[in-house]
Symmetry: C2
Subunit: 508 residues, 2 copies
């Protein structure tokens, strides 16, 4: 979001939050500081997708007597791009729009009970028993083709950690949740903390632990923190022990026992490996999607038939439109960067990186199908793209494959309208024509692409489609009966992974 | 096994079976033919690893009154290399050595009850209601680097099918179980059958179905046929219906309902995809194995920590020595061959084929570790390799990774002794020095490689290793305590995926 002016921060929903003056910020922090006195303070650095949910989850922790275990302070920056998160949270509102009502409830409750607040004042770190690092660490260009070109914003991470080092109490625990290149805690973060602590005359080595999050958007957003598996490690036994105690205080570790690994390198690698595995499994099936379409095979049914093999094959991915989200589109790049920059290792993650490249190109396959239906030329064609987020029934548009698809359509000269029942504004493509009236849009288009299998699309009767459209089903929205009905009604259609439709002539 | 002379067939266990004269064969077949009169006859073409077990399983089928449903005839060739399978089966002995006692029992029972026998006489096909094709279809060179170099013994398959076409009854069902390139049933097998049937004046198109097996060596060999998932398809509705009825007669389809796919192309692709997926997942983790070792990470523990995620990550593979067996080392090549030769598709299965290449080279990583321990030179070094089969506690040596490892050791000038508690003869490397005395071998070697995690190796106390050996643990045979004890006792060791051992200095 672009701020209306440089003294206001505008949230994605349009709400405006004036940036505080120095005096206002200091007064606000003085009030926080007074309320925090005598309490166990947890500071969360970064109120993004992970940080804001973690802050809410930690604030919800209760001791044996039912009292809040912690006083939680979220810290973000006093900038037009970030301050609205502080403003929202202090107003008792969730900074991230989510279908999980529990998130809204926990934020409202924390603010009303009085143990959850946010500030842009860095002095918050001085109050903290535990500092959770949830800042972003992004890859500069996720579409890089060569391993040597991978660049990471390490300076940004170092700057964030330096502030922690300058302010932290001698005995505070720093708990890193940010997904980092493996080795980062010991070789990037620890040196910065040591440097600043040495300068301050504190014992050089802090308590430092790593515990990666598995936060998922959607209806189980908060549950993905409190009721899910968590792996952690410390740079030493004391750090690990403190991390275990802290994590156990807000995670259901009876149902999901903590997993401890030897050191942060191991747990950092685990996070990246976990996501790289998923990304590789998706890319693998995309190779076979192309093969199946050319051989006239219904790969959806084939995958279904294989997934009966529990424990070995039941996680096989289905064909699809593409891969989105913050993690799966970049984490493998962090691993390759680690090898080269932190371990002086020239080993190439060939299959892992090729998988990322395949996933990045995946939406262009749907583009190819549409172009084929249009006789090779999309110039001037009206195209309705159904689905902007990267998950069904969730409004998360971060690194959505629809971005790549949309750009290809625009590049080909198509007139593009996009629709998504879960998305009101598309922050990544603000210039896109986003409609909320699906029926009207279907009546005014030449082609429609089912990119995301939102429930609303799955429920559409085939009669909702005016005659003679070009239709590409990228996400198994239509079964064979619906496809036949659409074809019989005069539409021409192709489907990702649906070679049998081509064999039956549905495209002509 | 090489026959003592060209008129004798010698089984792997040394038993000799004289090849029958024409008169003997005809007399034997006449007896079979008389016994088969009036019965539903099933002929299994090929008595190899799959065919012999399938024959036993089908012979064990019983009708509602408890009587054998079928008279089963196994057919193989009257050659020194193959006839022993016929000889064994007719003697009531399982042609394949297996730890599954049920297999031995079913063979003995079928022969004694009188509804299971074998012959080399092609006239057997004339008796059959159902002909199950279980012939081998191999890739000429599994180590090919380029997709264009993939060669398959199609002529062998065509010759086998031609015999069926020349002999089959007009109304017999041909059920293909052999793993074939997708498209083979319709584009290779069907044309041959039609040609022969046309020549004989029969209705041109036979009943033809495809139902791929998932037979696994080991203690559940027979159960992997009778109590496991089965996917099938027919070239038309009648063929599919007959395949369904036949499969249901010897598979527990209540517990494992059959999965029907559209056509043989789909089910042929399913089989190859299923195995390619497993192979790709193994190759993926090998990339990370190298990374973890260089970063000092215990990848075994990391994988354990990730596998808690049921349904998405619980099939993640562990690091290891290599991939063996008949299927996983070649099936992806069949897919690539299909695309080029049956579908005129120049699509390259990049990740899938690279995975196969990685798996093929995998044992050379263990070789690298051993060479490193030996200071870079293995000439004249005595090396004991523990494990020849490709699965723990199973004696199956087909395409075992130990082959590649053994060849590398020999190439490097090492003096190699191999041991395997489950392997009495190593058919693929008959020249290898195979010992049965592990304790003695451990006392007379410079280095030992734990290639396969057989129970016998896992039970070895660390004191079983005389001092100052070089040890490479490729299969997590030793935990960290055992590794430390070995190092303290003067051994030097490295482990596949065990970067933490290196970090702790166990190798020096």
């Amino acid at each position: 979001m672009i701020a209306a002016n440089s003294s206001t921060s505008v949230a994605p929903d349009g709400a405006e939050y004036p940036l505080p003056s120095t005096t206002e910020r200091e007064a606000h922090f003085a009030a926080i500081s007074a309320r925090a006195a005598g309490r166990l303070v947890v500071v969360v650095q970064g109120l993004g997708f992970v940080g804001s949910a973690v802050a809410a989850a930690v604030a919800a922790a209760r001791d044996a007597e039912g009292r809040p275990s912690y006083f939680v302070i979220g810290v973000d920056q006093p900038t037009p791009g970030a301050f609205w998160k502080i403003g929202k949270l202090n107003a008792g509102l969730a900074p991230i729009a989510s279908p999980d009502a529990e998130f809204d409830r926990l934020v409202a409750e924390g603010v009303s009970v009085g143990n959850l607040c946010a500030t842009a004042d860095e002095r918050a770190y001085e109050l903290a028993e535990v500092i959770i690092v949830d800042v972003h660490l992004d890859v500069i260009d996720r579409a890089v083709e060569s391993a040597a070109d991978i660049q990471i914003n390490v300076a940004g991470l170092e700057a964030a950690i330096r502030i922690v080092g300058q302010r932290m109490r001698a005995d505070a625990l720093v708990l890193v949740e940010t997904t980092v290149p493996f080795g980062a805690c010991e070789r990037v973060i620890l040196p910065v903390l040591r440097e600043e602590r040495l300068r301050r005359g504190l014992p050089e080595t802090p308590a430092l632990a790593h515990a990666y999050e598995r936060v998922m958007p959607g209806p189980r957003y908060i549950a993905s923190i409190r009721k899910f598996w968590r792996t952690f490690s410390g740079i030493d036994a004391v750090s690990a022990q403190r991390a275990r105690a802290f994590l156990s205080s807000f995670i259901d570790t009876e149902a999901f026992p903590l997993r401890q690994l030897d050191d942060p390198v191991a747990s950092e690698m685990a996070k990246i490996l976990e996501n790289s595995y998923r990304a590789a499994n998706i890319a693998f099936i995309h190779e076979w999607t192309l093969l199946a379409e050319r051989a006239g095979v219904n790969l959806w049914a084939v995958v279904d038939s294989i997934r009966v093999r529990q424990g070995t094959h039941d996680n096989m991915r289905y064909p699809g439109f593409g891969v989105g989200g913050y993690c799966l589109t970049k984490d493998s790049l962090l691993a390759q960067w680690s090898a080269a920059h932190l371990f002086n290792d020239d080993h190439l993650l060939g299959v892992t990186l090729e998988a990322l490249r395949i996933n990045h190109r995946m939406p262009l396959h749907t583009f190819d199908l549409l172009r084929e239906l249009a006789g090779g030329d999309l110039r001037g064609k009206r195209v309705l793209v159904c689905g902007v987020s990267y998950l069904p029934d969730v409004g998360d548009t971060r690194h959505s494959p629809t971005e790549i698809f949309y750009d290809a359509l625009i590049g080909a000269g198509a007139n593009v309208v996009v629709h998504d029942p879960c998305v009101r504004t598309w922050a990544e493509r603000p210039q896109a024509q986003l409609t909320e009236d699906l029926a009207a849009a279907l009546g005014e288009t030449d082609a429609v692409v089912l990119a995301v299998p939102h429930s609303e699309y799955r429920k559409l009767p085939t009669t909702a489609f005016p005659a003679s459209l070009l239709i590409v089903d990228a996400s198994n929205v239509f079964d064979d009966l619906a496809a036949k009905a659409l074809h019989d009604a005069g539409h021409r259609l192709l489907g990702v992974g649906k070679g049998h439709w081509r064999k039956r002539g549905f495209h002509s």
